[in-house]
Every structure is written in C-alpha cells, then in structure tokens.
Point group: C3
Chain length 286, copies 3
C-alpha cells in the first residue's frame, strides 16, 4: 500500500512501469465518419455495471439499451439484499463475492467494471480479486474508500447519525430515505412525477455494508487503469472543503481519466440514458 494514498499522484512509478508498459493498445481503428463518430469509433466492449444503494439492475435499463445499440455487451448483476432479493441480512463481503462469482461463472474477461455510488466500494473489492480480468475501472459518482474506511465515514457526523437512526427505526436494520430528502438531494434535477417514480422503485437498503470498514490495501497496490465520471449537480455526498465526489473522492484514484457532465445522482440515468452512455464510453474507451 502506498504510504500516502490521499495523494492524487501516488504510485507514479509502479503505475506506469508495471501494468501500463504491457497495456495493449488497440491500433486498428475504423475510419471515422464525422456524421456518426460516436457509434463507429469503438470496438465492442464488455461492460459489467454495478448498481448502488436502494436500487437494483433496473437502474441501468436505459443505459444498457444505449450501450447495446452501440454494439457493446452489457452485464448488470443484482447485488444481494437488493431488488428481488428480499433477504436484507447481507454484508459487504457477500456482495463482493456475488459479483466475483458472476464475472467468473460467466467467464468474462477484459471487462470494463463500472460502479455507481455504493457500487464504487464493490468494484474496489472485486478488483482486488479479479484485476487480471479488468481492463478499466470506472467510478461514476462512486465511493472510493481509503483503506480502513467505511462508506458512512465519507459523510459528516450528523449525516451519519441521520442514516444510522433511520436504520435503528427499521425492523430489519435497513434504511428507507424520507421522500423529501430523496427528492431534493438524489433527484434534484427531475420533475416531481419522475422523482416519485424513481423513489417508489427504491427498496430499503441494508445498513451493514455501509458501515463496515473495508481492508483496501490490495486495491491501492493495483495499477489497473481507472476513470472517474462526475455529474456536477450530484450532491449526495455534500461538496465541501474535505468532502464531495470531485475532487475529494476522485483524487484517491491517483492518476485517472476524468469525465464530467451535468446531472444528479439518480434521475439522469433515467431521463438521459444516451447522454450517460456517451459519458461511460468516453470514460471507458482505449
């Protein structure tokens, strides 16, 4: 592990002189037709999209369709304790194990592994085990934890208390967000009808994986190429001197490709799936 993983430029030497030296550069390219540059310039890629808290693979529905239209292969595993899995008694290790199993049992290789929100912590742990199958990691307004931290640690103390108290009030140690908080902070750019639709599709989130401190020493020794996508109106992690998605969280990736657009935490995926697919391709291409 790097002595100072908070430094945005850690591991230059290892980073470039190990993996990158043997990094396969695709030399063959289609001739670019400017009239549809977007759909022609990329070779087929294999995406594994890891959703975040409160949602399930349906979160990726529109984006998946757009990526498939471009000719890509898309996988959207469901995390334990989410969506149709009603057993909320899960921890972070079980979630990681499930994604690792999904990738290996489907014999996926050379994948673009993308995590949204909580999914960032999942792809950090999956990468520790499967880095030889991963071409690039993409964090989309995703948590990038330091070694020994939990997701909850990324929030100011009162926000942590808010989340934990919601869990305590539940019968099964899960968090159901109040609608008005969700509406203003998670889907701030949406109209009310869309906000309600997205909210109504959420399910209570198991609190355990959000508060577990993760051992990420191996992650910080990886030199897998990585990107960060930042939607500028996403305030789920409040922006401040020592918090926020970008640059605070992103900078933990060291050297990374930065891609940015307009959007909030959850409605942009639904309302502008093509725009999001474009950002994902820009973050993922060679």
């Amino acid at each position: 592990m790097h002595p100072n993983q908070n430094n945005p430029y850690y591991d230059y030497h290892q980073y470039w002189y190990n993996e990158y030296q043997s990094y396969p550069i695709h030399q063959q390219h289609h001739s670019i037709d400017q009239s549809d540059i977007f759909y022609r310039q990329h070779a087929q890629a294999t995406f594994v999209l890891v959703h975040g808290s409160w949602v399930d693979p349906f979160f990726w529905h529109g984006i998946t369709r757009e990526l498939q239209k471009m000719g890509h292969i898309v996988h959207t595993p469901q995390l334990p304790g989410h969506g149709t899995d009603k057993d909320k008694n899960v921890n972070h290790e079980m979630i990681t194990k499930q994604v690792v199993h999904y990738i290996t049992s489907n014999k996926l290789n050379n994948i673009i592994l993308i995590g949204h929100s909580f999914g960032g912590t999942v792809i950090q742990k999956v990468a520790e085990q499967l880095h030889d199958r991963i071409k690039r990691l993409v964090f989309w307004n995703a948590f990038v934890l330091n070694d020994g931290e939990s997701l909850a640690d990324q929030f100011p103390p009162q926000a942590q208390k808010f989340l934990l108290d919601l869990a305590k009030q539940s019968s099964d140690n899960t968090i159901k967000l109040p609608f008005q908080y969700f509406r203003d902070v998670f889907v701030n750019l949406a109209d009310l009808q869309t906000a309600r639709q997205i909210y109504n599709a959420t399910t209570p989130e198991p609190v355990m994986p959000l508060v577990e401190k993760l051992d990420l020493k191996t992650f910080y020794q990886l030199s897998t190429p990585r990107s960060f996508i930042n939607l500028q109106e996403d305030t789920v992690v409040p922006a401040g001197e020592n918090s926020g998605w970008y640059p605070h969280m992103a900078s933990r990736l060291g050297i990374y490709r930065f891609i940015q657009g307009s959007g909030d935490h959850m409605s942009t995926a639904k309302i502008y799936p093509r725009r999001m697919a474009q950002l994902i391709v820009n973050a993922s291409r060679d």
Copy 2:
C-alpha cells in the same frame, strides 16, 4: 440554533421530522407532453423575487416575463434605498421590514421567496418572520450568512477594505463600483455594450446593510425547504478554499436542492432570461 451551523448536514432530525412530515405533496399532475415539457409540468406558483445590491426590480424584468408566460404570479418588491428610492439612509432592518410588509399587505401565501446576491440576506431575515407563508426559499448566487455575520464578512480583508474605502469617498455613505471592476467581475460573460448598459442602470449602494452583523438564530431553526442556484462563472464572491458561492456559501443551508447553470452575476438575467426562469422553476417546483 444548531451547534454547528457550518455543517452541511445540520438538523437532519428536526428538518425532516417536523415540517417535512406535513409537507403537502402535489399529487395531481398534467400528463407530460414531451414537446413542451417545461411549460406544462408545473402548477401555478407565486414568486417573490428579491433583488440584490446596486440594482432594482428591473433586474427581474426578463425573468418575470418568462415566469408569467408559464402562468406564474410574480412579485418584485423594490428594496428601500434602491432604484427610484433616492433616500440612501437605510439599514438592513428597514429593508427586511419593507419586504415583510409587501408580502403581508398583499396577502401572499405559499410563496417561493427568491433572493439574488444581497437579497439572500434579506430572505433569511424575512423567513424568520414569515416562514408560515413561505413554501420554499431559493438562493441564487446569494449570500447565506452565518448567525452574527455581515455580508462584508464574506469577503477577504482587502476586498472589504476596497468596498469600505469606496463608501468613505462618497458623500452619502454609498458604494459606486468602478466600471472596469464591474465589467470583469460582475458581467464577465457579456459583451462591452451590454456590460455598459447594465452598469449605467446601477445606482450607488448604501453601505450600512452590507456591514451590519445579522442575528440569524431563528433562521437556523427553520426547516423551510430551500434551494441554491449556482451560476458557475459568477466570481463576485471569489472562489477559494474558504470562500465562494458554491459549495462554501451554499453548504450553510444544510440539506438543500442544488441547481446549477452557466452564467455570471448580472448579465445572464438580462441576456438569457428564459434559461434563468427554467433554473428558477427547477429550483422551486415541488
């Protein structure tokens, strides 16, 4: 008052378990016509728009017209010491009192109260008295003062000295900004002709309300929903580690809806009134 009002997530519990529990959700919605989604999706709202320093209600002219075209009711009270009111001997309390009087004498209820720039400090104080008439507060690149602070406190020391020295040089304790400073900092995105037009319409600003320290203990006990609109090229409050509109100033609102666009402090309202009206509606809708 919250022990740490600088914390972006203060008052979670009070915030959501008081006012928000009884917050009226408009369930009825028009069917959305995608061809003109903007003008159809909102019920009629009542806006009270509070202008900032150096200007008067004419600042809101284009925006008012756009909001009215959408069917909304718009009020733009003139602050004492501004516009046609040539008596510059005003303080912050007189300004607040005038807006309170405007709202109550016009029997306005369920209003969206919007402050631009200095107007932010005014809606903070008005909200303390009229929170039961206010549906949502919207701060548009507006000052959000901590309890006991003045607007001038939000600037670095030398900028404060600059403003105060300008006031001392006046015969009536007002500030007239030098054109080139105004042009580069207040209307940086405008062409020179527009810059001059806007500058020529400004009047000297009474300095007293800018240097008075405000008691805002009551404001920080309110749970009125609130939004912050940030125009990204607005540098009137210089961005820095401990200053700037966003996230520094905005974070004082605790939990808020964040809306963002491109624009500067004063020319965007004039050149792109529809764009601004859209941002205001996005910040204000249920």
Copy 3:
C-alpha cells in the same frame, strides 16, 4: 509586491486607481446583428499566443484560423527548445527573451498576450518587461506562479518526482511523457486516434524551465487587466484542496475576468477550435 499575493483580492487600490483610471474604453461599436453576434461585435485585436510544454505553434493552428476569420491579427511565436528548435539546452530566461524579442522586433502594441499551460509562466515574465505593450493578459489553464516558485512546485511531491525521474532517464535532460499517462490526463476527452495524433506530435520537453524558481516581484506590482480561462475537465494539475487550475491557481491573479468551458488540456484546441476561439475572445474583448 503585495504582502499577500495569495489573497485573491490583492492590490485593489493600486489596481483600479492606477492603470485602470486611464484604461481606454472603446466606445464605438458596430450595431449588433443577432444572427452573427460573435463575428461582428469586436474590433480587430492583436493576439500573441504562447504555447505550453511538449508542443509548438502548431498547437494554435485551428484557433488561429478561427481568430483570423473574425478579422483578428494572430502571432504564435515558437519557444526555444520546442518544435523545430532541436537545441534542448534552454532555460526560462532564454524563453522569455525570445518572446520579448518577437514582440518588440515585430513592433507589436496593444496586444492580447495569451499563455496556455507552461506559457502562463512565460507571459508573467514577458509582462514584467513589456506591460506597456500589453492590453490584457489571458491565462488559459495556465500556470500562475507565486514569486519565487517554479512550475514543478505546483505539483504534489510524487508528481514532481515522476517528472524529474523521467528527465534523469533521458540523455538530454528532457521529459517524454508515457503515452497512457498523456492519454488519460492530457487528452482525456479525445478518442484514441486523436489522442495518438496529438501525442505523436509532441517533442521531449526541456526540464530546466519547469524547475527554475522565478522572481515575479515585478509581476505582482502590475495592474494589467487579466483573465483566466478554465476548461473544466483539464486535470493536468490535479484538483484538490491546495492545488488545481481553478480556483487555486487562478486566484493568484487577484481581480480577473473568469471564463469557463468544457474541455481537456490538449484535445479541445484541436477538436473544437471555434469554441476555444470564442472563449478566448470572451476573455479578451474590452
């Protein structure tokens, strides 16, 4: 020199009461044709465009063409040790001297002097000698050094080590960036083909001018109007609490005009030259 040049509002008094008092305001303007407002509203300007590290005047090719189409005069001097100049044994003083010589021998006056990236340090030093010939300084994602600092000082320690080690590995004290680092950090928004084209046109950068500490006391006494253009996806200087282009680097300019757009460090100039020319004009016009 100002006692605290890090303060974003230094030198208000000197700034506005010296040079600005006699600053010539162009009163004459064309009538604005809204159908082509961009090409009509500006009087002819003389631009001197100073390129950054690893590139040469060809960097400005597309932008120059766009500015010329608008009727402007454009100069793009080649810095010593760059492009066709194969002698890499140069220092910062030699580079400054060359640009000063270019401007004076061509008898250029009333110029807009623009620096990109490393070029920012060059225009700082040129301005010290030729401020009477400069109408405005424009820094485009450009280094603005504090007095006594080097360009390398603007990077975190490990990034400095990375750059210096690359220089040590060379036979002539130059830096050639690894392609994958360049691709992810310098041309993050480009497709791979464009990334390779831009990379292949780069030449090794002499390290000396990047590590020399510059005396900038005279620069910080100048009151020449200045602008900063920020492309938001430019991460060559990593954004963080105490680093980055904006606001960290830009704030050293004191009072400046802020212009912003979407783009990365090197591909935007090539792919969107008209967009960049527009931003440059917006940063430069009266």
